[in-house]
């Protein structure tokens, strides 16, 4: 896992440094305040202040040395420790994604199973069509339509258009505060959920269909087991295996996909942070986000592999035999 992490950091470091533009000239901006004669000196002084004037490999080595001690440096734009910024933003993104995650599984599993059991009947065809359509909807379109229709005084005013909490949220007691938070989260979570859920439901359905035609299921039915036992006890547990591997890829996809949702709904999460950091060349934040994102992804992959190994006793960890 460590070499992978190193590889990620090297790649992101290289790309972000090669890209033109840097935070110093950005903060010096196009504002006409600086006399040309001094501009060059000021720029040099500033670059030295932030350590940006050394050669790139040296900068990387210094960064690595700091990160090993868990010091991600200061944000070049906000001038605060990067750790603090991430501590504020990461829980928000994680909350959003985990709730969406749980919802996806809770809804997709029953729907997929039901569709497989009632194969070719009305429920199956109907849900297939709906799932396909949901899968093909672009999320920014849905987000914009929802804000336009559900958040304004022109149509309905059911949900707040932006942010995570209302103005007066600080003065609320615990449960009203929680309720207010949840109310703000409904639309972003909805946007995150629908596409993942469509994909997963289809996978579950496909897996279940495969298993329901297998010989051992026919044997089970022949033995006289009830339909519920056959479906849940046998077929489901075997078809859940590819679903678990999907879990590993779903989480990183959601972390990346939430950039659009977060920007549409003004939710201050990691996606928006990464986006802003890239566009303002805030190198420290970019590297920190890439590292933490990479770590989370790798953990997700690892968990997926472990879950896969636990769920399917046939899989062994030895890798390939020749």
């Amino acid at each position: 896992m460590i070499p992978t992490l190193l590889g990620i950091t090297i790649m992101v470091f290289a790309i972000s440094r090669i890209a033109p533009g840097d935070p110093v000239s950005l903060s010096m901006g196009p504002g006409g305040q600086l006399d040309a004669a001094r501009a060059a000196d000021v720029r040099k002084a500033r670059m030295a202040l932030y350590g940006l004037d050394k050669p790139i490999p040296v900068q990387y080595a210094k960064w690595l040395g700091r990160v090993v001690r868990l010091d991600f440096g200061d944000s070049l734009k906000h001038h605060r420790p990067v750790i603090d910024i991430i501590k504020e933003r990461l829980p928000i993104t994680l909350t959003l994604n985990l709730i969406a995650f749980v919802l996806i599984y809770v809804i997709a599993l029953p729907v997929g199973v039901l569709a497989a059991v009632k194969h070719k009947k009305l429920f199956d065809r109907f849900s297939s069509v709906i799932l396909f359509m949901l899968w093909s909807l672009p999320s920014m379109w849905v987000g914009q339509m929802m804000i336009g229709y559900l958040c304004g005084p022109t149509f309905e005013n059911w949900f707040p258009p932006a942010g995570l909490s209302s103005n007066y949220a600080d003065q609320l007691a615990f449960f009203p505060w929680l309720w207010d938070r949840l109310w703000h989260l409904v639309l972003p979570v909805l946007c995150l959920t629908y596409s993942g859920f469509a994909y997963l439901a289809k996978q579950v359905r496909a897996g279940m269909l495969d298993n329901l035609r297998a010989d051992y299921v026919r044997t089970a039915r022949a033995k006289g087991l009830s339909n519920a036992a056959v479906v849940f006890h046998h077929a489901f547990r075997n078809s859940v295996i590819p679903v678990i591997t999907i879990m590993a890829t779903l989480l990183p996809a959601m972390l990346g996909g939430s950039v659009i949702i977060e920007s549409i709904f003004s939710v201050p999460g990691m996606g928006l942070l990464a986006f802003e950091a890239v566009t303002t060349r805030d190198y420290n934040v970019v590297m920190a986000v890439a590292t933490i994102g990479g770590v989370l992804n790798l953990i997700g992959l690892l968990l997926g592999d472990i879950a896969y190994a636990i769920a399917d006793p046939r899989i062994s960890f030895e890798g390939s035999e020749l």
Binding site: A19, D22, S25, L26, S27, Q33, A36, A37, P161, A162
Partner: protein, 582 residues
């Protein structure tokens, strides 16, 4: 996983997870309550010292409370909306306009201020000032009764500390220090008097020194300049509001300074909420989440015509000297735009009337002819903008030698096709629309334009390295008396200076330099009129539009007056029966 159904365990697991999450959340909430309690105790403690200090002052002599109170009822909050977050609330190191909104005039004050209607400098923290006859020395005398929000009186030491901090090369204040470049030193004459000594005569020094925001030395003092650079938050000043808290990414909260030495405002709290999405801002306004915002031009033109909207919100549109202008810059170091006739032809191709009518939808928008504030005294009112005239443009292009020699429909000269790259910032709708219009219009006369959108950091980089043919940009105004040196003098072309288009005109240079030395305003303005005429003939920029400042404000606020300098939020109040927040 033998025997028992795994589904039940799955749901049990989820249930446990939810319980744990709720527990953690309630612990977080308890934490926040503790924090608030501590904060309350702190405020109580600090107000105790204030009361003590006030008692002391009452003993030393009669205070003359300046001015009467602002009119109206006391109370309520004003919720602003900013569309970008200030990175830094330190007036010396911050470079962002948004920080100005939050701290200038509210938390920090300066020695002098501009009278909002007469537009001349008048004393604020200073009691009086005097300029020597040769113009190289300015002395200020501080008021006796001014003090910071924690009760400490303001003395000459604070002024000197502020100045020395700004010019300290290790302090991250290069932008600001640049203005103080030719100030030699400051001398403390007494506890309430200082004298600034300059190297040369420059008409703006009074404004620069008078506008310096005074920091309390006892709070901001440092041994290592990096300490000061790191002080980004918790600003403490002498102004009518004090800093309460900053929820990063969400809001900055200011509370009224009940210990203020001057005219106390009526609004009890100002909250600056940060919403980056423009559409969400309007939604928040209409939902009552915020009270005050800066709309985009099309938002303003549309909503100010909507009766439902204007019933509840004021649509303010006013001019002030810092409105600035939007322009298209033609890079004179590229073969296309070396000739002034070509630049004039390009100006004739931009239909500025159509932009004003259809894109900005605001008849109040002004089409500027030069870089000065259109209603100021520096601009020559006799100069009228060049009209939209494609035929004239064709004529000028032909005169300058750009004709279609090889029959492919694109003009060329000396083997170079008139095909240039027009740089715009990506995601900026107004830039894009104007650029698309120019491209279409240019195509009709045989000029090929390709649009280059770049994200902001790359845009700024290319601007500084002059890597563009044409660029869309806007300048904010320099104020009541602007000095065109930084943008138009030829010395600012190299070294990443602000003369991005490479404007090099010796006559203009001479006028700028002479004007800097002229302390008499009328003589100076005459020089600037000449400069204005040169710019009008040379067209280094195509000045596209200059629009008034626009705001939306909840109608419950009263005493909203428009002065020549703009609006002053400090004088607003909300009548008791309409107050929304306690």
């Amino acid at each position: 996983m033998n025997g028992r159904s795994t589904l039940a365990t799955f749901f049990l697991f989820i249930f446990l997870l939810i319980m744990i999450v709720l527990q953690v959340l309630s612990m977080v909430q308890a934490d926040r309550l503790y924090e608030r309690l501590n904060h309350l105790l702190d405020t109580l403690a600090s107000s105790r010292t204030v009361i003590v200090n006030q008692g002391n002052q009452a003993k030393t002599g009669a205070k003359n409370l300046p001015g009467q109170e602002y009119p109206g009822d006391e109370g309520d909050w004003l919720v602003w909306c900013l569309d970008a977050e200030p990175e830094n609330l330190n007036p010396v190191t911050s470079t962002s306009l948004y920080a100005r909104y939050v701290i200038s005039s509210t938390i920090f004050e300066s020695l002098l201020e501009y009278d909002p209607d007469k537009l001349i400098l008048r004393p604020l923290l200073a009691e009086s000032y005097k300029i020597s006859d040769d113009g190289l020395e300015i002395s200020f005398r501080l008021r006796d009764d001014v003090h910071f929000s924690d009760g400490h009186p303001i003395t000459a030491d604070d002024i000197i500390f502020t100045y020395r901090t700004i010019v300290n090369p290790k302090v991250d204040a290069a932008n600001l220090a640049n203005y103080f470049k030719d100030i030699n030193d400051v001398i403390k004459i007494s506890n309430h008097e200082v004298k600034f000594i300059m190297n040369r005569v420059y008409f703006k020094f009074l404004e620069i020194i008078g506008g310096m925001e005074i920091l309390p030395e006892h709070i901001y003092k440092f041994t290592d300049p990096m300490e000061f650079n790191k002080k980004r938050s918790n600003p403490v000043g002498s102004g009518p509001y004090i800093f309460e808290k900053w929820d990063v990414g969400r809001q900055v909260v200011l509370k009224r300074n009940d210990n203020y030495w001057g005219k106390k405002p009526k609004i009890r709290q100002i909250i600056y909420r940060i919403i980056t999405n423009l559409t969400a801002t309007v939604q928040a306004l209409r939902a009552g989440d915020i009270d005050y915002m800066r709309p985009m031009p099309d938002q303003f033109s549309e909503l100010s015509r909507d009766n439902q909207f204007t019933d509840k919100f004021r649509c303010l549109s006013y001019w002030h000297p810092a409105v600035g202008y939007f322009y298209i810059g033609w890079n004179q170091q590229r073969p296309f735009f070396k000739d002034a006739r070509v630049r004039l032809a390009m100006t004739h191709l931009v239909d500025r009337e159509a932009i004003r009518t259809y894109i900005l939808k605001n008849p109040d928008v002004n089409i500027p002819t030069g870089p000065f504030y259109v209603y100021g005294r520096q601009a020559d009112p006799a100069i009228k903008p060049w009209p939209f005239d494609p035929n004239k443009a064709v004529q000028l292009l032909n005169e300058a030698g750009w004709t279609d020699h090889d029959g492919d429909g694109i003009r060329d000269k000396d083997g170079v096709k008139f095909s240039f790259r027009y740089m715009i910032g990506s995601g900026l709708y107004l830039h894009e629309q104007i650029a698309k219009m120019v491209k279409d219009q240019a195509a009709k006369v045989g000029i090929e334009v390709s649009l280059d959108p770049y994200e902001w950091s790359v845009f700024v980089e290319r601007l500084h390295s002059r890597d563009f043919d044409a660029v869309n940009l806007s300048w904010g105004g320099g104020g009541i008396q602007e000095d065109p040196y930084q943008i138009w003098h030829s010395s600012q072309i190299g070294n990443r200076g602000s003369n991005y288009v490479g404007f090099n005109n010796p006559q203009a240079d001479a006028i700028i330099e002479e004007a800097r030395r002229t302390l008499d305003e009328n003589k100076r303005n005459e020089l600037y009129h000449q400069f204005h005429r040169i710019i009008h003939e040379e067209q280094p920029y195509t000045f596209v539009y200059s629009r008034p400042e626009q705001r939306f404000l909840d109608k419950r606020f009263e005493n909203v007056k428009i002065h020549k300098l703009g609006i002053n939020e400090l004088e607003w109040y909300v009548p008791k029966d309409k107050q929304k927040y306690k």
